[in-house]
Symmetry: D2
Subunit: 285 residues, 4 copies
């Protein structure tokens, strides 16, 4: 396989992320939800925490749909310094309230070293975002955390670079790591990014790490989210991370990619159906 | 949505391919197999016709797997003039023999005007390959054929360019047209191409044409073919086009992406399972 | 170097295009203008032939700027069948008139087999466009022409695929071949295409063929044309192909990338200045 | 112009980087070398600091070639945690010695917050690398520095994202900012990255910031460095950043893209020649 690595004279083996280094596939437990086994893990929620009303409303219908993980950002990395950057500590407090009220596990992003410890106290699964996939100081900090980490693929990162970034976390001692494909930047312009679905089995071919799909960021179009989420599940993803919002049109960020409540419930039903179909087909073959 | 069209001052509406121009979605009948309705259409076979032994062996296990369309190239467009270019007329004769012996519909490529009529006499579905997606003289010829056409997406073509190419065929009067996503060229290097799965629902959002997926060319790796084929089905593809070969290692072209017989049968079973799961989920919602 | 070739089991050597196959670099004479030696070849003109007034006006100021090759399309390959497709035979007649009136060599595109002979009778240099880079029947026809050929790089073609396409022409016996870089499709969105300037020295590292740059199609923005044309010359291009128009805003195609007459003259002056600087620097080193 | 921004509902104006916000183009003085005016700024040196012998040897011939800025990394961001990460503080001490011995300005990278202050004490120009282009905490720290900053373009970043990252630095109060194009990731595989030369005039069309080119990282091939450096200058770059090494084959990182001493001197001569040619052409027009 061709290598486009930026560091061509490096040792490119994946000492800890590779399949060789482990007897079996990893399973990561997040608030009782298993990533990497025979179940399908689903996390849903709005892009960013905006208000108590917003997060409680979303948390309620997510829980009713049978989903046990709530995702929302209190800290939002934004392209422009003039954009809404998240509610910060206030957002974390709201996430803590969601967890208490609905018994949902919290998935939220740590964007820098300064706020990492605060995020760590609230999160059940800490997200390292695509922009920070090669923020090595942040990766090392995540590697020293006692919380599970979800490492998103950089929008311009090869599989090799992604697994090498995973090595930064693993080599610091944190083995509870989940990968997340969230679309790559290409010239194909019908969607915001190109959902690189084949990377899911390609990861599984060389790594023991669980991998999930984020069809919301990958497509940026709510009408493509359900088909791409199901595609991810059919390709072998261990879970999906989906944006949903009661009033997408008024969201402070990324509203155009959020599913409405009913569509979210539809997705959950279909995703389990696909997963069950795959499991039964495998059992019979 | 951003437009990267090369012809920015053109009228970019899709007069005949667009959803507006028709009352309902098109269904194309190829040898009794329906593309575009509630069924899943599957075509399998080797990359190229090599010998009677080869095509008969593959045709036999394809038919046994319940598949009714045989795909193989008698004319092979190749990057280099020094590569195997296909058996030509002899290959067409072998395809005719396959059809007679196994009652399989024939899917095969027409690469130029000169051999088009010969291909037309044998094929039940004529493929226009990715390299020829903007070979406008060939598209016009296809538009004047009385056989159904499968138009593959160019490796560097946007959705807009692809549907515009479809307009060349449709505007000549041939409405039996099927689109085929076969991977696009990106920098992501774990697979030969990037299987752009989100284009499937994106096509369905604006066009009535059936669309299928070719996971073999899209990935170039046999271990990624099944997951990506299932991903395509889960995303809403009307069918799949898959390479399979008894002895992939000795294939004259593209052996590394061909499924072995048992894997092909596994794929067929799982693909129908996914399709059924989707259909029943839709029926219930 | 990594290979992303679609035909991975092919022999990828460039028997005729490669540096090994020749004692020295090729020089192609087009109407007395040398492509491939120490001179800089320049061709200018509008995207398409529109009227006698248009082509005569442009030809006049091009000739006054000291340029001896006129480029314009009589046949225009267009993304949509509903776009202006060129004047055809009438356009060729106007090009013949330009040649007679101004003694300019004619550079124009052959888009298909049907009109090839007509184009051949008028053109001093026949262009094979980017969309047709892998239209192998057309390449073979060009290889049998007695006129020089300019082969544009496909928007999604690697260097390997481009030189392999050149082999189709060369292997038919036509050795008067010039390559033209015209931009590749990437996600970088400040210009229509990404002008891949490094391919110029990369071609020269492995091939004896002359190579020129088309900054007009590469950028699609008239304000980027002069800088990119000069970049191409500085990188070692043997010539440049530039769109210019008296009234870009009213052009029937690609007006937004055409230089105004004064800007065209400025470009010519600066391009020769860069070329001279390079030549004198090489002479002194 | 199409926007592929990840934050589509943001205000995308460039308040401080934009041309509107300033009366004239910025000129940044680094150790007496001007970036942004009529001169051409050149910085050369090895990829990483390896030893006193190495940096002194390179510094000597760089100074002899008339270059006044030395670039080398003491901290090296690397794809893999198991690769050579730079000499760190010891490397900074060697850079300080180079500065004292040869009176060369020092250009070196700050990779994280922890070591920023140490880098700041030695550097005359602090580089923010491509991987950190959207490390917003690091950008804010750079914005609070009293040293000039060079912001490299991310390998997958659009012009809009790049200038938005510049806003993070500028909005903190540091206006001495230089942009550096270092190649983008595309599928074009004859070079490590695609040198996006047209971004140079595209930046100048909307921003007052100086912009330079790094042809070494952009191509990854020493034989393409000189042509691409000259292309950058011809396209209007305010300077070039070039890797050079006495013994490229034994470099600990990126040796395959470093120029030998003689080639570096040749590049300097030709680059000034191109710049002079451009300046005189502009003076005459």
């Amino acid at each position: 396989m061709a290598s486009l690595s930026n560091d061509s004279n490096e040792n490119s083996h994946f000492r800890l992320a590779g399949l060789d280094g482990t007897a079996s596939r990893s399973i990561v437990d997040v608030h009782g939800v298993m990533f990497g086994g025979s179940e399908l893990a689903i996390a849903g929620g709005p892009c960013g925490v905006e208000s108590k009303e917003q997060v409680f409303a979303v948390a309620r219908y997510i829980a009713e749909a049978g989903v046990r993980l709530f995702r929302a950002g209190a800290y939002k990395p934004r392209t422009s310094p003039y954009s809404f950057q998240g509610l910060g500590p206030e957002g974390l407090a709201l996430l803590r309230a969601v967890k208490k009220e609905f018994d949902l596990g919290i998935v939220t992003e740590a964007t820098d070293l300064e706020s990492f410890a605060d995020v760590e106290r609230v999160a059940d699964l800490i997200q390292i975002g695509a922009r920070n996939m090669q923020n090595f100081a942040l990766l090392r900090r995540a590697g020293n955390s006692d919380k599970p980490i979800m490492l998103k693929r950089g929008q311009g990162a090869t599989l090799e670079e992604w697994l090498s970034a995973a090595e930064y976390i693993l080599s610091e001692g944190n083995s509870r790591l989940i990968l997340c494909e969230r679309g790559i930047r290409t010239w194909s312009n019908h969607a915001r990014y190109t959902f690189d679905v084949s990377v899911i089995p390609a990861v599984k071919a060389i790594s023991h790490l669980p991998i999930i799909a984020d069809p919301s960021h990958a497509t940026g179009r709510s009408d493509l989210v359900i088909p791409c989420a199901l595609a991810g599940v059919a390709a072998g993803a261990d879970g999906i991370l989906v944006e949903t919002h009661c009033q997408p049109a008024s969201a402070l960020s990324d509203g155009q990619q959020a599913l409405l409540p009913n569509d979210f419930a539809t997705l959950v039903t279909r995703a389990y159906k696909i997963k069950d179909g795959l499991q039964s087909a495998k059992a019979n073959s």
